[in-house]
């Protein structure tokens, strides 16, 4: 009796998983076609010429770069140095030391010769008290806010309050920006005359690259399989997911690691909210605000500008990161659940949010179920073995082959990795994805769902070596 019930369960669950995966595969295939057409159109375009005129200050608009930092002593100096070297006519860098308990502030004071200054802070968004404002003697456009600990969202809101310019850019304290990334990410915003209110660039993994004095000198690949898999995962997420969604203004994520926003809209949307995924949460609110005000506003992703960030190298760190990301995703989606299938919010309510609910959020749960069904079915005899093989084949298509396609798409168009051996490694590691990396991350993301249900809260930072140390 129990065995029969178990078989029936496997049969039903297996078919649900199978149908789900086929639908998702088709959706990804659609995104792939959209991305391919766009990348193909621009892939031979000169890397620099379209942006050259933006170096003239009268064409560009000034930007405030916000760098929230909590216990980032290992990498903060390099990150700030990379920001001071970017090519952009007018900008200020505001580092927000969110009550770090390590030597983040001391490192900054020492390296950049900071001195206390008096600056009136415009109270536009709620944030914990700013204890002191510092300005660098050597770089007058570098400011450091020392504030009470309040979390990343609170730190960003404090930064927005202190910022002077109409555009804000948020960058993680552990990231390094390509010198021209800024010009590239700003160009569509400037050209659109206010139609584009947020834009995000690609984030790549810095582990394995050679970085000197806050600048990427040579792009390389880490030797650790765990990091290589994350590199592939980022390529896939950015080139297949975001680009495809961005082309139809369906984007709900502008990575916190590197994104630019038009400040008045951010303030009107209420700034950053205290959730684990504050970057996504803000983007959803911006879309919501635009729809409620009935204004045609766009949020876009640009594949070329690259921000390099440090990826976790150990299973423990990666697990913590993925749990936090997924918890943030669920929190945001839950907060805006009234928008789901709500025609008032147009394509965001009818397409984007369903995508994030059913593919991004529920994906790992279904995937995990798929792995369980495969394993058990293999022990249950003929018909089940066939079904297990069918499911496994679809999983390979869904995981490994799609990732391999992403690697090839990158090589066909962007070509960020100069060495042939890196390309070979990326391709073959992508093919192994279904057999170890995907089940692992699916499990961690499921843990994130459990965390969200149990309402666990923390900054969730990982141990840093410092990408540019």
């Amino acid at each position: 009796m129990i065995v029969e019930a178990w078989r029936s369960f496997l049969w039903v669950a297996g078919h649900i998983v199978l149908i789900y995966m086929v639908i998702v595969l088709l959706f990804y295939a659609f995104l792939l076609v959209v991305s391919f057409i766009h990348l193909r159109r621009i892939h031979r375009l000169d890397d620099w010429e379209p942006y050259e005129e933006l170096l003239d200050a009268s064409y560009a608009k000034p930007v405030s770069i916000l760098v929230p930092a909590y216990n980032e002593e290992a990498g903060i100096v390099g990150s700030v140095r990379s920001l001071l070297a970017i090519e952009y006519p007018e900008y200020e860098v505001i580092v927000i030391n969110d009550g770090s308990t390590d030597k983040t502030l001391e490192r900054l004071i020492e390296h950049f010769h900071l001195q206390l200054v008096y600056r009136v802070i415009r109270h536009q968004l709620d944030a914990k008290e700013i204890k002191a404002v510092y300005q660098s003697l050597n770089y007058p456009h570098l400011f450091v806010l020392d504030k009470e600990n309040g979390g990343k969202a609170d730190a960003l809101n404090a930064g927005i309050n202190a910022s002077r310019y109409p555009y804000i850019c948020t960058i993680d304290g552990d990231s390094v920006l390509e010198r021209r990334a800024f010009l590239k990410v700003m160009k569509p915003m400037l050209e659109s005359d206010g139609e584009i209110i947020a834009s995000g660039g690609s984030v790549h993994i810095a582990n394995g690259c050679r970085i000197e004095r806050g600048e990427i000198v040579k792009v390389g690949l880490s030797r650790r399989p765990l990091v290589i898999m994350q590199t592939i995962e980022y390529l896939r997420a950015f080139l297949l997911g975001r680009l495809g969604l961005s082309r139809h203004n369906l984007l709900l994520i502008v990575s916190g690691a590197f994104g630019v926003f038009f400040k008045p809209w951010v303030i009107e949307a209420g700034g950053y909210a205290d959730t684990a995924g504050e970057d996504m949460e803000l983007v959803v609110r911006l879309h919501r605000l635009a729809r409620e005000k009935n204004e045609e506003k766009k949020i876009i992703y640009i594949p070329d500008p690259v921000c390099w960030t440090e990826a976790p190298e150990t299973y423990g760190d990666l697990r913590r990161q993925r749990r936090r990301w997924h918890r943030g995703l669920l929190e945001s989606l839950w907060m805006h659940r009234s928008m789901l299938f709500n025609p008032k919010y147009g394509s965001i309510g009818l397409l984007s949010l369903p995508y994030f609910w059913f593919i991004e959020l529920l994906g790992p749960i279904v995937e995990l179920m798929g792995y369980i069904v495969v394993v058990f079915s293999l022990f249950l005899g003929n018909l089940y073995v066939e079904f297990a093989l069918l499911l496994l084949t679809v999983s390979v298509l869904y995981g490994s082959l799609l990732s391999a396609v992403a690697v090839l798409l990158e090589e066909w168009t962007e070509r960020k990795f100069p060495s042939i051996s890196d390309l070979v490694k990326l391709f073959f590691f992508a093919l192994t994805e279904t057999f170890w990396y995907r089940p692992l991350t699916a499990w961690w993301r499921c843990e994130g769902v459990i965390d969200a249900i149990r309402r666990k809260k923390q900054w969730g930072s990982i141990k840093r070596k410092g990408v540019s140390a």
């Binding site: 621009i42 008096y118 069918l390 084949t393």
Partner: protein
């Protein structure tokens, strides 16, 4: 069983396609890396020679013998065009480009790939290949020209002082954004700008705003034109005119300035305060002092900055920091005094 067979076959087929694609990309990468290495070698070998030729120290010019050499030479020329100034050098670059690359540019401009046409336009612009004007005109008039190309073409026409650009700007093929207008007007000669000014009313709203901005950016002496705009019904044009006057440092009498300092639009008060700071007249102090308590933060900040620039301004700010009844005014004054006073 059937489903398994279908999916399995599909997966194998896709896998095979991916492997073929992968091999192709590996070979392409290998060839591209090799080509880049050869390109680097050629460039290194001829860089100095070309530089000396452009500077007039070398009479004999090397002729590119293969497509690779031509590409290397183009890259070198493009590089030098951005580094070297001087009419004679630019003239030599242009002559070389016209002599060796015209056919290549022509083929690229007729390409069906958008990115190739754009790259050709960038090169024409950098190397100032004016001989390509008829072909660019043809591209602009063609049906396939895209929004991005049209904007770039207009910018190049403006740079080449090509008169028909006026008509194109007044009736553009695609709606031009403020940014595009800025680039186009930014490249125009004084002669072309005068022609646009004469037909100012025919411009779109974005075009008008940018044209006024351009007066400030280019520091053009357009006093009567700007004063006329100050009387405009459109607040945006008044704001831009005040901004341009502040850029140029064109004084405005206190009575008229007061009118704008008390405007209901904060942007107008902001620009009026900026202009007041540039006028450096002590009798503007009381007007600006009032604005230290403005309901807009940016106006308060600008007013404080303006006061700091006026004669006797720092004394006024010190007084405000101590005695102003409004907390915002006190804070702002303190910030502009540097916090120490």
């Amino acid at each position: 069983m059937m489903a398994l067979l279908v999916v399995f076959t599909a997966a194998i087929a896709l896998f095979a396609v991916l492997i073929v694609l992968f091999l192709y990309l590996v070979v392409r990468k290998w060839r591209e890396n090799r080509r880049q290495a050869r390109l680097r070698v050629y460039k290194e070998r001829h860089r100095l020679w070309l530089l000396r030729y452009l500077l007039g120290e070398e009479e004999q010019m090397l002729l590119p013998a293969s497509p690779l050499e031509r590409e290397a030479m183009m890259e070198l020329l493009d590089h030098f065009a951005s580094l070297l100034n001087g009419e004679q050098v630019q003239e030599r670059i242009r002559t070389l480009a016209e002599m060796h690359f015209q056919g290549w540019l022509h083929r690229r401009l007729s390409s069906r790939h958008w990115s190739e046409r754009m790259n050709a336009l960038f090169l024409i612009e950098d190397l100032q290949v004016k001989a390509m004007l008829p072909e660019m005109e043809r591209l602009y008039r063609s049906k396939r020209v895209t929004k991005g190309e049209a904007a770039k073409l207009l910018a190049i026409f403006a740079q080449f002082d090509y008169s028909p650009v006026i008509a194109y700007v007044l009736e553009p093929k695609y709606k031009l954004t403020e940014f595009s207008y800025r680039v186009i007007f930014g490249h125009m000669s004084e002669r072309l700008l005068r022609q646009v000014e004469q037909r100012f009313d025919e411009l779109t709203r974005a075009g008008k705003c940018v044209f006024v901005d351009m007066i400030g950016i280019r520091r053009r002496e357009e006093r009567s034109f700007l004063l006329e705009l100050l009387a405009s019904d459109e607040s945006e044009l008044r704001v831009r005119a005040l901004k341009a006057m502040a850029e140029i440092g064109m004084p405005l009498e206190a009575e008229r300035l007061k009118q704008h300092l008390c405007s209901s639009h904060w942007q107008e008060r902001l620009m009026a305060a900026r202009l007041a700071g540039k006028c450096r007249e002590e009798r503007l102090l009381p007007l600006l002092y009032e604005r230290l308590s403005d309901r807009s933060f940016v106006v308060r900040s600008e007013a404080a900055a303006a006061i700091a620039r006026l004669p006797g301004g720092r004394t006024a700010l010190r007084a405000a920091a101590r005695t102003a009844s409004d907390r915002y005014a006190r804070d702002m004054a303190r910030q502009w005094l540097g916090g120490g006073e």
